[in-house]
Amino acid sequence: MRKELALQMRGITKRFGGILANDHVDLDVYRGEILAVLGENGCGKTTLMNMIAGIYYPDEGQILIDGKEVVIRSPKDAFDHKIGMVHQHFKLVDLFTAAENVILGMKQENRYNIREVTAEVAKITDRYGFRLEPTKKVYDLSVSEKQTVEIIKVLYRGADILILDEPTAVLTPQEITKLFDVLRRMKEDGKSVIIITHKLNEVLEVSDRVTILRRGKHIATVNTAETDEAQLTEMMVGRAVSLNIDRPEPYDPQLLLEVKDVTIRDAEGLLRLNRVSFDVYSGEILGIAGISGSGQKELLEAIYGLQKLEAGSVLFHPGKGSGKGGETVELSEKTSLEIQQMGVHLSFVPEDRLGMGLVGSMDITDNMMLRSYRSGRHGFLNRKEARKTANWIIRELEVSTPGTATPVSRLSGGNVQKILAGREIAQNPQILMMAYPVRGLDINSSYTIYQLMNLQKEKGVAVIFVGEDLDVLLALSDRIVVINGGVVTGIVDARTATKEEVGLLMTKTETERKEEAQ
């Protein structure tokens, strides 16, 4: 098949203040291909795509479509050139139906006729194998259906070049497979699909060619068939990285924490956790898998003492080593402060790092003090100790920062996470809870965090790890608790379970419910 160039970028440069986001980047996209744009977080992938989609305007360089130079100053210009982008965060009106969202913002030649639109939307869904009812309201749609609406929106406007920004981040493995099928059908239809991602297995699975960016620069473009994970990683990171995650056997596991029938309702009275029970042992990494928003946040906050339980209990068994007589303590109905004061060392790295775990405007020392400021009898702060901890973390975890007096919000995502995780580990925890600890981190930082978790595990700490990447969960954890809609749908041995098994459990009740309804 002869390949036709659809879009070319030549020497595209974009700066934000003093930061060079894209540095003379070249990119070619052909008709009828899937191009993956691969790179670590903050390497300029999204910025580059935003310039094709008319969100940003390049400082330098040219964009050519079908060999002719064009100017794309606004998303409307982009649509005129048949370019459409599906952003990471959906931009839909909840109260409208899927079809209404598709038509929203389009100029109508004649009178607005929702029935025609619905028919047209149905045609598109059939053609590419989407599953969507156009008359459903957006608030009734699942995350993957919402994504479908976004894609159809772009197709409806006649886009021939589709850009998808991290489309798999919110999907389960089964949904990802379906999405990839759809993308392949678009490709057969002659469309150009650009997918932005930092996940190597997806690149290898779906793309025809890969363009790798690193620190705003174009590193290489290779044919997917001629490359492998190791080579891609090396180009992405700039040096060879071992991708193996160690998993030592738990040493002398003791029952440390019992979560029993925990039930939680939110402020609106909706059930967030429904009779959740599981055990946690010392010296193990317990993974928690589930689609985001299935109750992971509530679960960790319940253990930590930030949520009021409607029913159930959280029992802590200190064991022999604690020197406290090994008495079992009930943690529910206690605040996090009371739990701390009882001598139970719970550490918690929350999902929202700068909104909850740290204070962005404060410097590293003061962020250390968030945990330790109460120490000492008198009313004055002791910054000396906190500064020591800060220096220890900067040294041990190789945080790149000008010093301890730098506000945390100025640091990169990876360094912010190192500071937070480091602080929590410095508490000498008995239980360490980490919610999405590597979200937004580059490969190097991610592996540093995995190593930290393994080190804690070897010290006999019980690590509870809420993750979203099933490959990592399966490689790192000893056991995995799968939750869906606030219900535990299964507890599996991570050494033997497969990705498909866990994926099914993640959506289990949903499918069951549908079967019952039919």
Binding site: R15, F16, G17, G18, I19, Y57, D59, Q62, K68, E69, V70, V71, L306, T335, S336, L337, Q340, F348, P350, D352, G355, M356, G357, L358, V359, G360, S361, M362, D366, M369, L370, R371, Y373, R374, G379, F380, L381, R410
Partner: protein, 377 residues
Amino acid sequence: MSKTRHGEVKEPLIHLSKRTSIKPLQAWAIRLAAIALGMIVCGLVAFVLIDKLNQHPERIGDFYGAFIKGSFSTSRKFWKFLKNIAILLCISLALTPAFRMRFWNIGGEGQTLVSVLAAIAVAFYVGGTIPEWVLLILMLLAALAAGAIWALIPALFRAKWGTNETLFTLMMNYVATFLVSVFLVVWVPNGSASLPKQPYGKLPALGNDYLLIILVALLLAIGLYIYLNYTKQGFEINVVGESVRTARYIGINEKRVIIRTMILCGALCGLAGYLIAAGLDQTVTTESVGGQGFTGIMVSWLAKFNPLSMILTAGLIQLLDQGAAQISQDFDVSGAFPNVIVGIILFFIIGCEFFINYKIHFRGHHDRPYKGEEGVK
């Protein structure tokens, strides 16, 4: 398509970008430039509005000189200048802990006014029957308590029912004003509604009449700076202000911190009220605080809630105020003119923060660092 060839492509004429950081020196240069610009605009406005200046343009020197003359020409004026700064500073400081907590207490006026009322009430009822020093202590306690209660009420409602503290504290100002009116009617039966100076309960002079007040304000600024930056309670205030969720996460009971801090704020307003009552006025009117509760908000904001910088910002505002008053006296203009002058200059001072936070790019001009980079390559 020839129209859209690259050479003819129009970049937007101006676009803004947020600065990541700015050198302190550069920030101060921008601020000083803004004040200078504000002064020039003031001169132009004055030229249009003031007849005397219009007919005698050579008096423009006097116009600007008035800002110095207003505060420094005589030793009496200078002491008054310092005293005014001290009272304004006291009230501004009192508001600051709440602001650091992002609790928008705009009730400083009312909190100070009820404290003046409370102190004078003590002097009115028990003055002369007990030793003067006991009376002074009682007045102080009454003022502190009154201010604290006035601040505590909105804080309790906020903590319990989540009411809006801005509206609540604002309304409490009016309640305080009316409360003073009620007491004046009760205390002054002849209907003139102005209470004569109370003979008892006057703070001793420390060399100069105003020196004690000035020292108290300075000590308070230093004390509050230490409290907010170096104590556990101050740390809690900062954490609650930055993020309530973080506060909860580390086990701070944010309601307790709000209530505790508002009691402190109210009590500090009480101290300011005490200084007005026992140190200066010896009486109370609905205008005893004279809007300084509101001016204090500005002083606190301009200083970015830093107690030590507030000495400067309170000084600046006072300098403008007295200078503008001098102008209206020297040039025979209406009493509203000072407000115009102060308004213009504050507009420039506050407006220049935009240029400290954002950078403006014009078409065709590229960032200098980039050109340097290219040169190196």
